[in-house]
């Protein structure tokens, strides 16, 4: 539809984890404004579109949010089919709300196409159930960007009352682990560090909060942190055979 802006979640990286609607919006798009971290394989689906890299993901480097909103409005007013493509889900620490506000103020019609957030998608791919009957009936997703973002909620959360998922907190896991232990969480609480999203190079490292307080250099790139007893379950989940991703990818493309 002309002049409509679709705010689309790109999911955690693997193009197969786009929704059917997201894939179709990309195919139809004439202009795609995307975060720097959106995978090349996902952008490749936007065959007929002009691709505009609008910078780093929310919370990283300088996203120039106002400039992005202005570009969205300008392209839509020009009558283009515009997709604003954001890693994960547009509303999970993605600043989608700020862009909707700009579009609404300018009288531009919009829709939101939800995506698989790294917060839920990566644990699923890694065999870590965020909830487990009798063990965890809740999970919290929080930005680890600074103590200002995670402090208020982690400071009062009763230990073990929820699985904690931290996005954009890779560089601060030492500080966050120490903060939780200080607040009464057991140093032996199981943790996992999920790196490189849903790509074939994705990895899972399990540890404890105590281990993390001694973590030194953060690996490069985005990472997802999971804290809670459910992490310990993964040792019982034996993925007896690898999924033939190469073959599967051939079918998908």
């Amino acid at each position: 539809m002309r002049g409509l802006v679709s705010l689309v979640g790109a999911g955690p990286g693997d193009p197969e984890l786009l929704t059917l609607r997201a894939a179709r919006r990309l195919e139809q798009a004439e202009v795609v404004l995307h975060d720097a971290l959106v995978a090349r394989e996902v952008l490749a689906l936007a065959r007929n579109a002009r691709l505009v890299d609008v910078g780093k993901r929310a919370g990283r480097a300088s996203p120039m949010q106002e400039s992005i909103s202005r570009q969205l409005v300008d392209y839509a007013r020009g009558g283009a089919r515009v997709v604003r493509l954001k890693g994960g889900d547009p509303f999970v620490l993605g600043r989608g709300g700020e862009e909707l506000l700009a579009l609404s103020s300018a009288g531009i019609p919009w829709e939101v196409v939800p995506g698989i957030s790294s917060a839920t998608g990566l644990p699923a791919l890694s065999g870590i159930p965020l909830t487990y009957r009798g063990m965890s009936s809740a999970f919290l997703v929080v930005s680890g960007h600074s103590k200002r973002t995670y402090g208020p909620v982690l400071g009062g959360l009763p230990p073990r009352s929820a699985t904690v998922v931290i996005l954009m907190g890779l560089a601060r896991r030492e500080e966050i682990a120490a903060y939780l232990i200080e607040r009464g969480w057991s140093p032996r609480t199981p943790c996992a560090l999920l790196l490189r999203g849903s790509t074939p190079a994705g990895s899972k490292e399990t540890a404890t909060l105590a281990d993390w307080t001694e973590a030194s250099i953060a690996p490069p790139g985005p990472g997802t942190l999971i804290i809670g007893d459910v992490v310990a379950l993964t040792r019982f989940f034996v993925q007896n055979e690898l999924i033939p991703t190469a073959e599967e990818k051939g079918v998908a493309s």
Copy 2:
């Protein structure tokens, strides 16, 4: 792949919100064991499969979890391509972990295909950003099934420190609202009730915690509750034009 069990998230109801991988797994499936609440339009994608309804969604009625796990193992041992299809995401209050444990113990290979959970997908479709810079840097997803599930975490969560998303809590919203107010949350905290998933009949009702304490009869069917200041933002988001879902659906199928 024969003998592999794919634990697949069906998303919030609209078949267009399946991932590309989920849609493909359904097309290839020979047996699909699904929750009663999975939408008919989603099941229709499993063209060549025997459909087995294994009962209500986790947390509702009697799911007979052991029987489900046994059936999964039996079908997989028989060499079938098996999909276990669960509403939303398999690991978000979906008991996917229990099924993985059964499969692992039986030596059956498995994979998890994440899905869009109602917890994040319905707010996105309804224009409610779960996080918003300067307003909320975190959200909590919790089962409202009983005070045993929501009490431990909501009892200690500092008021306004996170957006709260409650699944399976429709019948208890009066009780939950009273509990939060008792714990220091403002009676004027904005809330939303999202009904009937992502179907065309989906609806959003906004209110306050105080309104909910007087809520009487729960509407039938599943519902998602959202509590937090971000709900008040939706009044500024004007969706200037409706998306032509009918036409879109024609393209999709």
